[in-house]
């Protein structure tokens, strides 16, 4: 059992840290009825390139320096913000992991995102790339200077996280017939997923499926491996072994079919329910097997279904 080298602390942190922990909470906003002309001083004084438009507690739009310039070119400085703002706003939620934000910055190319509370829908902060870098560096306890954030470190950290699409890979060895450690891989994976802040419902589905897959390796094969790839929007787990293989896969998938020996049944296994449990808990299951060669089971879990 162990971790692959790709398990970097930065990658790990990008899951652990939530948007709400690194965002700026003092947000300068404007009201829909403000004059566009008044934005000039606001943008200049605060060195901003855009600002959320808020009515009451509700985010109703966003207005950027480009909107301002177009307005200026049209000679309509008295126009209310409402008429010039972008109404469809891309937002982040405070409980999202930072890794989502990083991918969103990459996809959208925006400079900042308003942050909402998922329950109330209220604006609670604003997030720039700089906020993320600062948050990560702080957690890593690295001393930094403001200017570094804008130059070297920023691009370096973002590229690291974006380049490795499989942000985190975990690998566990499973020994056949070793009932003392049977389930240890599924248990370790479950713990890691909780630490990384995944939703309990997702963790539960992954735990059930990987445990069943691990037990099959323990019961039916001499040894195998569990490989978990954690992506920003899905988790993929591979359970592979060099065991006897499955002669009739269709039959093995029928609930209740089992070739488990008596001593395994005495331990409470061998109901022939494992593979159908895996099918139910995962979003996609692909089972391949060759008699005498081994079995390759792949399970995919989407984080947002």
């Amino acid at each position: 059992m162990g971790k692959d080298d790709g398990f970097g602390r930065v990658q790990e942190l990008s899951y652990e840290l939530k948007v709400g922990e690194v965002m700026t909470t003092t947000v300068i906003t404007v009201a829909p009825d403000n004059r566009v002309g008044d934005l000039r001083e606001l943008f200049r004084a605060n060195k901003m390139s855009g600002t959320p438009v808020v009515a009451g507690d509700r985010l109703v739009g966003i207005i950027s320096i480009e909107d301002f310039i177009k307005c200026l070119a049209d000679g309509e400085m008295d126009c209310p913000v409402r008429m010039r703002m972008t109404e469809k706003v891309e937002v982040l939620y405070a409980d999202e992991p930072v890794v989502h934000a990083i991918h969103k910055f990459d996809r959208r190319g925006f400079g900042r995102f308003p942050v909402l509370d998922r329950k109330t829908g209220h604006l609670v902060g604003i997030l720039s790339k700089g906020d993320i870098i600062k948050g990560l560096l702080k957690k890593l306890e690295i001393d930094y200077h403001e200017e570094e954030i804008h130059h070297y470190r920023a691009s370096h950290i973002f590229e690291d996280i974006l380049a490795d699409k499989t942000a985190i890979r975990l690998k566990y060895d499973v020994r056949g017939k070793d009932f003392e450690n049977a389930g240890a891989s599924a248990s370790a994976l479950k713990k890691t997923l909780s630490r990384l802040g995944f939703h309990p419902q997702v963790i539960r589905r992954v735990a059930i499926a990987t445990y069943e897959a691990e037990m099959n390796i323990v019961v039916f094969t001499p040894k195998g491996q569990m490989l978990a790839d954690i992506h920003p929007d899905h988790i993929e787990v591979k359970a592979v072994d060099k065991g006897p293989g499955i002669p009739d896969i269709e039959r093995a998938l029928v609930p209740g079919f089992s070739t488990a020996p008596e001593w395994v049944r005495e331990l409470g296994f061998g109901a022939g329910m494992g593979l159908s449990n895996i099918q139910k808990s995962s979003d996609k299951m692909v089972l391949k097997s060759k008699v005498g060669k081994g079995t390759d089971l792949r399970m995919t879990f989407f984080l947002y279904r």
Binding site: E180, S187, R204, E212, G268, F269
Partner: protein, 117 residues
């Protein structure tokens, strides 16, 4: 239902985790097949089972079982107890057979996993 009440209703004893008797279980599931437990149990449940091997604790951990009660007076071995302590899952023991243990708890208002929210 508090674990202490479960113990009282079943005339049971605490095998380990005596400090956790004030935790709440929301429902119960009686099963001797681990795949059934994985398929049907919900969160915060009490698992009632006749099996006492360490895999029972491991299975319970996977689906966030709150506590385990062994029936028919079957006492778990040290390996099982140690694992349960490590995972902070309290263990109870009753001399009642499975059907009666489940029946008593159900009669006293503890719902099954298909009924609970």
């Amino acid at each position: 239902m508090k674990l202490e009440e479960v113990r009282r209703i079943l005339d049971g004893e605490v095998v380990s985790g005596s400090k956790s008797l004030d935790i709440e279980v929301a429902m119960a599931c009686g099963a001797d097949l681990m795949s059934d437990v994985l398929a049907f149990i919900k969160q915060d449940a009490l698992l009632i089972t006749g099996l006492t091997n360490p895999q029972v604790v491991r299975t319970a951990e996977m689906v966030d079982v709150k506590a385990i009660c062994f029936v028919r007076g079957k006492r778990p071995g040290q390996e099982t107890i140690t694992m349960a302590q490590k995972k902070s899952i309290p263990l109870l023991l009753t001399h009642l057979p499975m059907f009666e243990a489940c029946g008593r708890l159900y009669k006293n208002g503890l719902p099954g996993c298909s009924e609970a929210e």
